[in-house]
Symmetry: C2
Subunit: 174 residues, 2 copies
Amino acid sequence: MSNGTGHYEKRLSDLAGLYADQTAFAALLAEGDRVVYDVTEFRPSEKAGDVIFGVTRMSPGRIGDEFFLTRGHIHAKSDRPEIYYGQKGTGLMQLESPDGETRIVEIGPQTICYVPPYWIHRSVNIGDEDLVMVFCYPADSGQDYGIIERSGGMRHRVVAVDDGWTLTDNTSYV
Amino acid sequence: MSNGTGHYEKRLSDLAGLYADQTAFAALLAEGDRVVYDVTEFRPSEKAGDVIFGVTRMSPGRIGDEFFLTRGHIHAKSDRPEIYYGQKGTGLMQLESPDGETRIVEIGPQTICYVPPYWIHRSVNIGDEDLVMVFCYPADSGQDYGIIERSGGMRHRVVAVDDGWTLTDNTSYV
Ligand SMILES: [Mn+2]
Ligand SMILES: [Mn+2]
């Protein structure tokens, strides 16, 4: 992205505790603290009525039978939505409503995914190549990661199966 | 775009009156009322705090020494901004401030263009291929095309020169 205002990376060590298979996590981390995803954004302001836009790129990979994924969050102003738009690769948006309903939106190039107000959201790279998406959200949204930490993650886990992926219960969820 | 909620096209006849060279316009129109640009959008609502996202594609072309371009508008809620992000091709965003200052942002793949609150904006395809951009703006922005019509267009025209483009005064501007 040219004309962006910021960039950050998340490494494997930043994602400690997210995955069920802690042995596989430790083994992969021992190979090196690789970048799992990075975000380049354009953030004109954080005022109501303004908009933040960015590009996120996530590497392909697995930890046990789980795919590389983002930590997941809800917006600090929880009624603020978000729009994702696929650019490259194949991913999922894992969405969880305030009353615990899970929805999965498959995202490929040119796919729109709308994150409705109040829904927790996380992206998952289920492909063999980088997952690249653009996103935009109201500039006053903010992010709250604590809701995920307090509940032991999201209600379900996306896990790899022979022909793709399926959902299982997250046994750490409280 | 998959999962979009709407689509529209603008044809040459919809752009009557925008161009200085009316003879060239009439000659091109006589060849057929071609689609000049189309927009596919995702519009979850028109409420404050929501966001509209879309993809716009504009054909390459010229009318006299002017490039194919959009009509231009200001937002009905004029303090609402917009973000464009280049996908394919080469274009310009022509921006005009409330006191008549013109700014031009060149847009190629992965270029961000921010349209600040209160600025009139129009996109121009200066290349030989389709110009494709994504855009997003606050869902309550609205569009006002009358400001352009009342003033005889924008203050400047983008015109082709040997090595690219330049700005000239729009003699219809009042
Ligand atoms: Mn978000
Ligand atoms: Mn606009």
